[in-house]
């Protein structure tokens, strides 16, 4: 089976933003939302060690995707080939997945009130074409492939040291890697670390307090009734006459 992943070659990338526009064009992503992004950081540092870098990002199709764990209808799920997708028939647009995403990769599309995000262009990939962002990249700085194939370019680049955007606190197994020979990636990571998956207050109340309470209540009431029922059987049915 495949495990699709992407490597961003920061040495080659010139932050021209073509990938952003190509993706928007392919999937009718309404302004101002986006499926992928290039966040430019201003040149920083101390001469002569100045860095001008950009955070090139998209859905990481994480191995342990917190968005999948947050979807109330199971609309978002991870396919066997590793791609995390959203079934628009099941999505109710509650946005829990978007809050859970450490990378801010999802948005609610106001045109259909459903969640949308990068799906690794599976409609193109299934026909043997590269994802739109990869194809348009002028600097050939985006490499897409199968991590389960040790000979693929992505596998080779990761073996040579391309790193994912993880932190000590948040590592959900992202599948976007960054090749960088110039200590630029750490600047990006410092500015855009993955965020702790967020659960909104009502869901926190449910998961942490209410759900366990109800489990107790239901279990308790079921057990209670079962006990009463057994007692009844044991005692025999009492008459109306008392």
């Amino acid at each position: 089976m495949s495990k699709y992943a992407m490597v961003i070659d920061m040495d080659r990338c010139i932050a021209c933003h073509a990938c952003e526009v190509a993706c928007r064009s392919h999937y009718d992503v309404p302004v101002p939302y986006y499926r992928n992004w290039v966040h430019d950081l201003q040149p920083q540092g101390v001469y002569p060690d100045i860095k001008k870098v950009s955070y090139v990002g998209l859905c990481n199709h994480c191995d342990d995707a917190p968005c999948v764990k947050a979807c109330p209808t199971g609309a978002t799920y991870k396919r066997k080939d590793g791609v995390v997708v959203v079934d628009k028939d099941l999505c109710i647009g509650c946005g829990l997945c978007a809050e859970a995403c450490p990378y801010g990769a999802r948005y609610v599309n106001p045109e259909n009130d459903k969640i949308d995000k990068c799906d690794f262009c599976i409609d193109r990939v299934s026909e043997g074409i590269e994802p739109a962002c990869v194809e348009t990249c002028i600097a050939s700085a985006r490499i897409f492939g199968d991590m389960d194939d040790p000979n693929s370019n992505v596998s080779k680049l990761v073996a040579k040291g391309a790193l994912p955007n993880v932190s000590a606190k948040v590592n959900v197994g992202p599948n976007i890697y960054y090749k960088d020979s110039n200590k630029n990636f750490q600047v990006v990571q410092a500015a855009f670390p993955p965020k702790m998956p967020k659960m909104p207050t009502p869901q926190k109340m449910w998961t942490k307090v209410l759900r366990p309470l109800f489990w107790l209540a239901i279990g308790g009431s079921f057990l209670g009734q079962f006990a009463a029922f057994s007692t009844q059987l044991f005692k025999g049915e009492s008459d109306i006459k008392e």
């Binding site: 932050a15 021209c16 073509a18 526009v21 101002p32 201003q42 999505c91 259909n112 194809e135 600097a139």
Partner: protein, 782 residues
């Protein structure tokens, strides 16, 4: 209490069931279905050519049921090779931009009042022709002037020629690359062309002076640039700003603005002194070496250090890198070089540097033009008449080396203002934003007051349209044919076809049709023996090696090229003695320095910064400001300010300031970006924003235009090109003028102060000298 069991309740229940099921099934999918991509019945992929900038990449447009939905690079096109930049991708949004001019309009109020009436094409063209003929009758046909730009401008250029007016100007020469082409022609007998014939992907050292590749995006060039860097090319980025290119560079040389020629002369000095030049090439193919050697003997790195603020050892180090890597060194000639009015000499110095490194016709250097293996049929039309009067902009005589194909825009404006040597009484502005490109905007505006007639042809309601007497809306490049684009200076020779990919969305027309219809009304029907431009192209290709059907399908037709010299082969340069002119006799005869000297430019006064401008990868000049797909990425420019200097003025990142130039011209509030990657004596403002485009209703405009602040300019006496980086600005916050309290030098080296230089003006012009060689007819490119 009894309750009736009624049929009613059963019916209600079954009704509820039915509705429930129906609603439930459609629940959540109704809105989704509305926005869902309903599978289109007909999907076409049509090849064409982009025109979001002037590189003209090949594209494939996806058209679904007649609607343009996507643009991708054409993988068959040898220039962009299947890739396309952000602006190219966003061409889809341009076609459907809400504020596009949808119909011809004639003004009904005062000029600039914004009152229009929509008219038919016939009425608009009749009106235009009538007005043009009136000017012609009263003042002479030459009193009609044309400002044009873009691929489709070729047709209107021709029309004016057929009509007999020599007065046309495009900004591509005087405000862009004119001076570099003149400099290279004087040296090599030819320019490097557009697309530039620089072998970036095979270079071992790349030298960028300005030319912030990566922020200025010409797709095919960036493909080569990034490939070259990935193969290990070392980059020298000479730029007062830490550009994207600088971030990829082995050496970022934060040069003092205006001193680049001194740096190049110092490099030449080192290369000659340390005998790092290509001895063979110089011996066989160049003249004037002895003079050059003598000329640069005092231009030491130490001398240059005090001018450029680049440490001498860095100058040596970079020169040695070039020497070591020759001939695989690309010295990028620049693209927009209209900086200080001494730009031809700077281009000369860069051409000489390349010549010393022997890069001509070599892999990794400058590659050669090839010979196009086939020819096109020419239309059987009369010759254009010779104009009775000289053109007023001085191209070809006052500025002997200026291109008459492109003219000198600012000179045409000046002539219209002064009404000398003869009055210019009508302007047609075709695809050029004259308020965004030509410096000293107030002159341009004032000149319009002298006109009897002012017409604009454009796609979007840019500021120049606001004052027009008539507006003729053009098709976007995706809705029209243009003339064949033939390129012989690339790794493969090619001809690409721009054809309509969709039916036009509004009541607009293509440039070829507008020129033809106007021409016919001006009595020029003999020049237009066709009805449909597609027939012209078919005719042109009929007897050539190019199949029209295949070209229409693929979008491009390629031929092999011969970009490199064979081993030991010598190139016959198009110069008087067939050799590279290190020493230019021609310049000497015209009264200019035969070898480049460092010509200083004024430093900014106390509390002022030099205004430096440039491009962004997401925008194309002023064309894309209102494109929703692009202005969601960058909607307004940030002003780059040196961090230390900014802090000393009490500023923080993202503070809003007003920029005021030396003539008191103010901008709207603009956000600043404080960075160590900006020289303290300059501020950088991305170009193209802030045009006062009142017709752009769906886009928030603010006056943050660089061109608004460029009220002063120098003129290069050799080419007539303008020097635009001679304006100085100060920053105002909350009505308080800010002044830096520290003197910062990024490199630790301080330059000598320069001020009070009198720039070469009109009085230095030699009117009567005629050039010995033909100036280039730059038809390719912009």
């Amino acid at each position: 209490m009894e309750k009736k069991i009624s049929r009613r309740s059963f019916l209600k229940l079954s009704g509820a069931v039915g509705t429930g099921v129906a609603v439930g099934l459609s629940a959540g999918t109704s809105k989704a279905k509305a926005a869902e991509r309903i599978k289109p019945k007909k999907v076409e992929k049509i090849a064409s050519v982009c025109e979001q900038c002037f590189w003209r990449c090949g594209i494939i447009a996806t058209v679904e049921d007649g609607k343009l939905t996507n643009i991708e690079g054409n993988p068959l096109h040898p220039n962009n090779r299947g890739k396309i930049c952000a602006r190219g991708n966003a061409g889809v949004a341009l076609v459907y931009e809400k504020d596009r001019i949808k119909n011809p309009m004639i003004r009904v109020g005062e000029r600039g009042s914004g009152k229009w009436k929509e008219v038919s094409w016939n009425e608009a063209l009749d009106y235009t022709a009538e007005k043009l003929l009136a000017v012609s009758k009263k003042y002479g046909v030459e009193s009609n002037a044309l400002f044009s730009h873009g691929a489709s401008a070729a047709f209107i250029n021709d029309m004016y020629k057929f009509w007999g007016s020599p007065n046309n100007a495009a900004p591509s020469f005087a405000q862009c690359r004119g001076s570099r082409d003149v400099g290279y022609e004087l040296t090599y007998g030819e320019a490097l062309g557009s697309p530039e014939r620089i072998d970036l992907s095979n270079a071992k050292v790349i030298v960028l002076i300005g030319s912030a590749l990566g922020e200025n995006i010409h797709t095919g060039q960036i493909v080569d640039f990034t490939n070259g860097l990935a193969k290990g090319a070392k980059l020298i980025a000479v730029d007062p700003r830490f550009s994207t290119a600088a971030s990829k560079a082995k050496w970022w040389l934060p040069i003092k603005p205006g001193t680049d020629t001194a740096l190049v002369l110092a490099w030449i000095h080192v290369i000659i002194k340390e005998k790092g030049y290509d001895v063979n090439f110089i011996r066989k193919s160049a003249t004037g070496f002895t003079e050059l050697k003598n000329h640069v003997k005092d231009f030491t790195p130490e001398w240059a250090e005090k001018i450029t603020e680049i440490p001498a050892e860095k100058i040596r180090e970079t020169a040695r890198a070039m020497m070591k890597a020759k001939p695989a060194v690309v010295v990028h000639p620049g693209r927009h070089v209209a900086w200080y009015g001494n730009d031809v000499q700077r281009a000369r110095s860069m051409a000489i540097l390349s010549a010393l490194l022997g890069t001509w016709g070599q892999k990794g250097g400058y590659f050669l033009k090839s010979k196009f293996p086939t020819s096109y049929n020419a239309l059987n039309i009369p010759d254009a008449p010779k104009p009775k009067r000289e053109r007023v902009d001085g191209a070809g005589y006052r500025f002997p080396l200026a291109s008459t194909g492109e003219g000198l825009t600012q000179e045409l404006v000046k002539a219209t203002l002064s009404q000398k040597p003869y009055p210019i009484k009508s302007w047609m502005v075709f695809g050029q934003n004259i308020f965004n490109s030509i410096p000293s905007k107030k002159d341009t505006k004032k000149a319009i007051d002298n006109l009897d007639f002012y017409a604009v042809v454009d796609v979007r309601p840019t500021e120049p349209t606001w004052y027009a007497d008539v507006i003729l809306p053009e098709d976007t490049y995706l809705e029209r044919y243009d003339s064949l684009i033939t390129v012989t200076g690339w790794y493969k020779q090619y001809v690409s076809l721009r054809q309509p990919v969709i039916k036009r969305v509004h009541n607009t027309r293509p440039g070829w049709w507008i020129a033809m219809e106007l021409g016919k009304r001006l009595g020029l029907k003999d020049f237009y023996p066709y009805k449909d431009y597609e027939d012209v192209i078919k005719f042109q290709l009929k007897d050539s090696a190019i199949s029209f059907t295949k070209l229409k399908k693929d979008g491009v037709f390629t031929f092999p090229a011969t970009p490199y010299l064979n081993n030991g082969e010598s190139y016959q340069f198009n110069t008087p003695n067939k050799k590279v002119q290190l020493y230019s006799k021609e310049l000497k005869e015209l009264g200019f320095d035969p070898m480049p000297k460092y010509e200083p430019v004024n430093d900014p006064g106390k509390g002022y910064f030099r205004l430096v401008y440039g491009l962004m990868p997401v925008h194309s000049h002023g064309k894309t400001e209102s494109n929703p797909w692009l202005n969601t990425i960058i909607s307004e420019p940030h002003l780059w300010v040196n961090e230390t200097t900014g802090r000393s003025m009490g500023l923080k990142n993202n503070d809003e300031v007003i920029v005021e130039n030396q003539d008191g011209i103010k901008s709207d509030k603009i956000k600043i970006m404080m960075t160590p990657g900006m020289r303290p004596d300059a501020v950088f403002l991305p170009h193209g924003f802030g045009g006062n485009d009142r017709g752009l209703l769906n886009y928030t405009r603010r006056n943050v235009s660089d061109n608004n602040l460029i009220s002063q300019y120098n003129t290069d006496p050799i080419s007539g090109g303008t020097g635009l980086r001679v304006n100085f600005v100060r920053l105002i916050k909350e009505n308080k003028i800010l002044s830096p309290t520290v003197e910062v030098s990024i490199t630790g080296v301080s330059a000598n102060k320069v001020s009070g230089i009198k720039h070469k003006g009109e009085s230095d012009r030699r009117f009567h000298i005629q050039p010995k060689k033909k100036q280039s007819a730059i038809r390719e490119g912009c």
